[in-house]
């Protein structure tokens, strides 16, 4: 079953084409890794499917619901506001910079949306949050505030916050890029565990080893296009495209 289908996504910022006909598909339980150099459009792609940006043209379908499709002139037409909000509830997004709410405790960060948006009872939301915190190895931090936590802990809270909404698909936008190298491991471990539980995920990452180990499918983007894609063994083990080769060799050097 397809959780996410994006077809021919185009997006420009002030005349500069950032996405030039990107198509990706994610089926249930799949982990898709998107890799590529900075400025290749990876994050923009993620922001388009999570409705933080609007596309110029293309089609996006999430869990069978159409978010946007082209009209007769090839221009994007979005579904109505209510439908877009509903589609938004299928997805979760983990940001590079965590974006936790600094004035709320860890517990409130996680329960605020389930209570306000999903209309869960406070007790129910808190019970679910406690379970998630346990899973994230943060059971003792429920009453702490984000500023009292390390970067890795903050990112785990933000993963718990996204999971608390029971998304059908979870997006990660370079989840370890704002972390010290010694803290990236704890985040990658969490994502690995989620993958083992067959959480559907799309991860934009610069961690090549991680992409190779965890992803079911890897997409290499450059200059707003998908240059090469395939399963990790293919893409990393039997690289075809020269640009992909050049990009990967830079990682192997260090």
């Amino acid at each position: 079953m397809h959780i996410l289908t994006a077809k021919d996504i185009c997006k420009s910022f002030d005349g500069t084409k950032v996405l030039n006909g990107i198509s990706i598909e994610v089926t249930k339980g799949q982990v898709l890794a998107i890799i590529g150099p900075s400025g290749s459009g990876k994050s923009t792609m993620l922001r388009c499917v999570t409705q933080l940006e609007t596309v110029d043209s293309g089609e996006i379908t999430i869990c069978g619901d159409t978010l946007v499709k082209n009209d007769g002139n090839g221009r994007a037409v979005y579904s109505d506001k209510a439908a877009c909000s509903k589609i938004g509830l299928h997805i979760g997004l983990v940001f590079q910079n965590f974006n936790l709410f600094p004035h709320l405790s860890v517990m409130q960060n996680i329960t605020e949306a389930p209570i306000r948006v999903l209309r869960r009872s406070k007790a129910e939301a808190e019970a679910a949050a406690k379970e998630l915190l346990q899973k994230m190895d943060l059971a003792d931090k429920a009453d702490a505030y984000p500023c009292q936590l390390s970067g890795g802990q903050q990112q785990r809270v933000s993963i718990a916050r996204a999971l608390a909404m029971n998304p059908d698909i979870l997006f990660f936008d370079e989840p370890t890029s704002a972390l010290d190298p010694e803290l990236t491991g704890e985040i990658l471990k969490v994502i690995r565990e989620l993958a083992a539980e067959h959480m559907t995920m799309v991860v934009v990452t610069h961690e090549m080893k991680f992409a190779r180990d965890v992803a079911d499918y890897v997409v290499f983007m450059d200059n707003g296009t998908i240059v090469e894609q395939g399963n990790p063994e293919q893409l990393f083990g039997n690289t075809q495209n020269d640009r992909t080769k050049a990009f990967l060799s830079r990682f192997n050097e260090n």
């Binding site: 974006n99 709410f101 600094p102 605020e112 306000r116």
Partner: protein, 213 residues
């Protein structure tokens, strides 16, 4: 000099100053938030008049505005406000303009990621503003708000231009009739006490919001 009469009159006049102070805050703070929203919208039909309003309020003397609302409404629109109401209208409209710009600075200072996180979690725009953004804005605007509150305490003395008997008016009456400077010193002490309280209020608020960065 009859000190008992002096102090009684000064205390009564202080009540008038405090009345203007509190009425101004109660109405101009929410109004300022609304004006800030109007100033930030891209809808020109709202944005442009709001900019003009802010320009008028900040660009002309508060004293002129006081005179306007007491004397000019009658010939212009046939409305005569009583003195205190005219003063309150002038103060509210004037301070709302300043508060609006402080709110705007605070709101625009909140990182975009906060809005984005709230949006992805499904919060409505109203929920995002009141639950996520505004509480953080309050913390950031405490210092400039403190300035405005303190200025407002002192600005209440301007109300005397339309015949309102507030603290400084009573004081100057006594100074000129008794040719004695003591009332000035006492009035100074009164203002200091009021602003001491304002300062203390803001220090407490700041400490209370110190639990996060």
């Amino acid at each position: 000099m009859n000190y008992q009469a002096l102090l009684t009159q000064m205390l009564e006049a202080t009540l008038m100053s405090l009345r203007i102070f509190f009425v101004t805050l109660i109405f101009s703070l929410p109004l300022g938030l609304l004006v800030a929203k109007g100033r930030m919208t891209k809808v020109r039909l709202i944005n442009l008049p709001v900019r003009l309003y802010i320009l008028l309020m900040r660009g002309t003397p508060l004293m002129l505005q006081l005179l306007f609302f007491f004397y000019a409404l009658k010939p212009l629109f046939g409305i005569q406000l009583d003195r205190v109401l005219a003063a309150e209208v002038a103060f509210v409209l004037n301070y709302a303009a300043y508060f609006a710009e402080i709110f705007r600075g605070g709101i625009e200072g909140i990182p975009r990621g906060q809005h984005e996180a709230a949006k992805v979690l499904g919060f409505t725009r109203g929920q995002t503003f009141f639950r996520i953004i505004l509480p953080q804005v309050v913390k950031h605007i405490i210092p400039p708000m403190g300035n405005e509150f303190i200025t407002l305490v002192k600005d209440t003395s301007l109300a005397q231009v339309i015949g309102i008997v507030e603290l400084l008016k009573v004081t100057s009456n006594w100074v000129s009739s008794a040719v004695n400077m003591t009332p000035l010193v006492i009035a100074g002490a009164f203002y200091l006490v009021m602003n001491g309280a304002v300062t203390r209020f803001f220090t407490m608020a700041e400490n209370r919001l110190n639990y996060y960065r």
